[in-house]
């Protein structure tokens, strides 16, 4: 991340990603406060929707098959997930986490058999669940994973809370999904480096960002390599297999991080049609193949 000389930064780890909050101000106390607010929100969301530690999500997954009543915020996210599912023709599906049971994206290993994938597919499909706000019931064996929309949601929430606290320009970056509250104090844009997909730590390009958010989807870090074919970790919930011909990474610019993240995933799910999709939707984006 390239930043100006005025910035105060707060670093921490959340949602399995390095996070940084940049605040453009000379007032140390205020900058520390804003950083703390963003960090607290990230940790709160991580804890509330964690798939590993006791949380709203683990409770839902552990009691799959029974009716569960959820709180306002979780209900909002589930409504949002429903809209995403519809708008994407079923390609974005928060129940697709179960496919993980057949796949291991550590970078090496073998592809699963068709039978293995087929057996796991039984536990995938948002259409199979009962959702009538605020009541949710999964089929036994199913699970939900809000990780796909949670990080972008956390970025948006953190920026909104920071803006509510002060008008000081702020940039929130949770593992590469980022959003700015507006231009820097002087009116000039923030500088954002896009990581090279092959050389971690190297910049492939430099963007100027004055408003909105950036989200990146791709297989930069998680994939299966089999017979020199790289299979990305983005799986088609309908077939259970990775999307063919998908770009290595898609970075999208939109008004909010949630919107950018969605568009990036949708583009990726289009496989070889990613660029055409982004162009027809008139999205400002960059694909790396």
């Amino acid at each position: 991340m390239v930043s100006g000389h005025h910035d105060h930064s707060t670093h921490f780890t959340a949602m399995a990603s390095p996070c940084v909050v940049l605040v453009d101000t000379d007032h140390e106390v205020l900058a520390a406060e804003v950083g703390e607010i963003a960090k607290s929100e990230a940790l709160r969301i991580e804890e509330k929707f964690s798939r590993y530690r006791p949380s709203v999500v683990t409770h839902i997954n552990d009691t799959a098959g029974t009716m569960v009543e959820v709180d306002e915020e979780t209900a909002d996210l589930l409504d949002y997930a429903t809209q995403c599912h519809t708008l994407s023709g079923g390609l974005i599906d928060i129940t697709s986490g179960a496919l993980r049971r057949a796949w291991n994206f550590s970078g090496q290993g073998t592809l699963p058999t068709q039978a293995q994938v087929q057996s796991v597919l039984e536990f995938v499909g948002w259409a199979r669940i009962f959702w009538e706000r605020p009541r949710l019931r999964l089929q036994p064996g199913m699970e939900i994973d809000l990780g796909g929309i949670g990080k972008e949601y956390a970025v948006d929430r953190a920026v909104d809370l920071a803006k509510a606290h002060s008008a000081t320009p702020v940039l929130v970056n949770f593992g590469g999904d980022l959003r700015v509250s507006g231009p820097r104090q002087t009116g000039s844009p923030w500088w954002v480096a896009i990581e090279d997909v092959d050389r971690a730590g190297a910049a492939a390009g430099l963007l100027e960002l004055s408003t909105g958010a950036l989200a990146t989807s791709g297989d930069t870090h998680r994939y299966v390599r089999d017979r020199n074919v790289r299979y990305g970790h983005v799986l088609n919930p309908n077939t259970g297999w990775p999307i063919a011909g998908a770009p290595r990474s898609v970075t999208v610019h939109a008004a909010t991080c949630s919107e950018a993240g969605l568009l990036a995933k949708l583009a990726l799910l289009r496989g070889s049609g990613a660029e055409a999709f982004l162009k027809s939707e008139q999205v400002r984006a960059w694909c790396v193949r």
Binding site: L87, S88, K163, G182, Q185, T211, T256
Partner: protein, 457 residues
């Protein structure tokens, strides 16, 4: 079914996605806003001060300060203040069991102007002071009769002042700033001009700031009726020419972020004055050594130089949403005056749109070496003497409260109400004769009302 929804997905999904994302975020606890307006480039601070001393002077003072961003690292500041001060003020003379008459010049008019003598408000009579030969103007003076056992006040007192300042602040690097300014102030018998220059350097990622500043001031005094010769008898005659006073002062300070909640500033300042230090309108009484009755009134005299030093410590502590400010100042000069100020404010943030800030201030001062309540007839005159109670030993407390309504980050309406109570020793030990039953330092009480409005665009 799948095909149909795929079609739907293909057809312009972006709008719907944007709406879905907006819907998710709008229902959040924090209000999602549009991209914020760029930071304002102009901030205007306006205020009206109403000041009223009980039975003494009152003043009304409107003031405007404009801060304009010129470029990304420089700001221009312009300020104008006007005040109108009217009301009686102490002369420096002692009260008596007999009535007393004082003549005090208050206006110069061209020779030959017809003058109607009327009784001025406050119980003064206008007299005409005969001009010296060849002069083209004459002086109108206010003649005041002070009743017995009353602390003598000058009722002819009025003053109108206009002052302005222009300042420039420039960031050279993100850690180093310079600033400079000029100021000008004019009253009907006094003019002041000054220039200042300052630098500040940040360290430790803006956690520490060192600053230094110098200021040079040049004052011209042209009292009505001329400058009196010090320690001569008060009279209505034409007096001496204009006088000047020059002051240079320097300040060094350090501001430190002590921890996330506590900001502290420590500064030391030093000033050197040279020139005319007297108040041309203040007098000191010579009293009879037995009866204590005033016999003569002399114009006061102060040294023509003054060296001042002070140390100032300020602390701001940010509690959850409230702020506590505590400051201390210790001062001394080579006139023998030492003083201490303690100031405490608590800003109670009631909600985002309203705060209440109570304020307590305590001030204590020791007398100047040459301060005298009066002089004794027959005793050799000291080189310097003044009966101005502002140079005497006294304590003062201020109790106040400020109400603030911030409408946005740069817009605020506020009202400050303060009560000032000053007490001095009105019965000094060793007072002679009738002076033992007089109050030689009446308490001063004053009310201040300050209405302010800040806005930006």
């Amino acid at each position: 079914m799948q095909l149909a929804s795929k079609h739907a997905a293909n057809a312009g999904v972006r709008q719907a996605l944007a709406a879905a994302a907006a819907g998710l975020l709008a229902s959040g606890h924090a209000k999602a806003q549009e991209a914020p307006d760029p930071p304002p480039s102009t901030i205007v601070d306006s205020a009206v001060l109403v000041y009223h001393e009980v039975n003494r002077v009152q003043a009304i003072e409107p003031e405007v300060n404009v801060s304009q961003k010129i470029s990304e690292d420089s700001t221009l500041n312009l300020g104008i203040v006007a005040d109108s001060l009217t009301g009686p003020t102490p002369l420096g003379a002692v009260p008596s069991t007999f009535p007393q008459t004082y003549v005090r010049p208050y206006k110069v008019i061209p020779l030959g102007t017809p003058v109607t003598v009327t009784t001025a408000s406050g119980g003064s009579t206008v007299v005409i002071v005969p001009p010296p030969t060849g002069a083209k103007s004459q002086t109108l003076a206010a003649s005041t009769i002070v009743p017995p056992n009353t602390y003598p006040l000058d009722h002819g007192f009025y003053d109108r002042r206009v002052a302005g300042h222009l300042g420039w602040e420039q960031a050279i690097t993100s850690n180093f700033k310079i600033d400079g300014g000029i100021a000008y102030s004019k009253e009907h018998d006094y003019r002041s001009e000054s220039a200042n220059l300052g630098i500040s350097q940040d360290f430790n990622g803006h956690n520490t700031t060192l600053s230094a500043a110098v200021n040079y001031e040049s004052d011209l005094s042209f009292p009505i009726g001329g400058t009196p010769t010090p320690l001569t008898i008060m009279n209505g005659n034409w007096k001496g020419p204009d006088t000047t006073l020059h002051e240079i002062d320097a300040l060094v300070g350090v501001t430190q972020v002590m921890n996330r909640r506590w900001l502290a500033t420590l500064s030391y300042s030093f000033a050197d004055d040279h020139g005319y230090e007297n108040d041309p309108y203040k007098i000191i009484s010579i009293v009879d050594p037995i009866s204590g009755q005033p016999v003569e009134q002399l114009y006061e005299n102060r040294p023509t130089f003054r060296r001042k030093q002070s140390i100032f410590l300020d602390n701001k502590v940010h509690l959850t949403s409230d702020v506590v400010s505590l400051s201390l100042r210790a001062y001394k000069d080579d006139w023998g005056i030492k003083s201490l100020t303690a100031d405490l404010r608590y800003r109670w943030q009631i909600d985002k749109q309203f705060y209440v800030e109570p304020h307590l201030r305590y001030y204590t001062q020791g007398a100047a070496d040459f301060f005298r309540y009066y002089l004794v007839s027959g005793v050799a005159l000291p080189q310097y003497a003044s009966a101005d109670t502002r140079l005497a030993k006294f304590h003062a407390q201020t109790y106040g409260v400020k109400f603030g309504m911030p409408f946005s980050e740069n817009t605020e309406l506020n009202l400050r109400v303060e009560y000032y109570d000053q007490q001095g020793n009105g019965s000094p030990a060793g007072a002679i004769g009738q002076l033992q039953q007089q109050n030689l330092f009446p308490d001063l009480k004053a009310y201040t009302l300050l209405l302010g409005y800040t806005f930006a665009f």
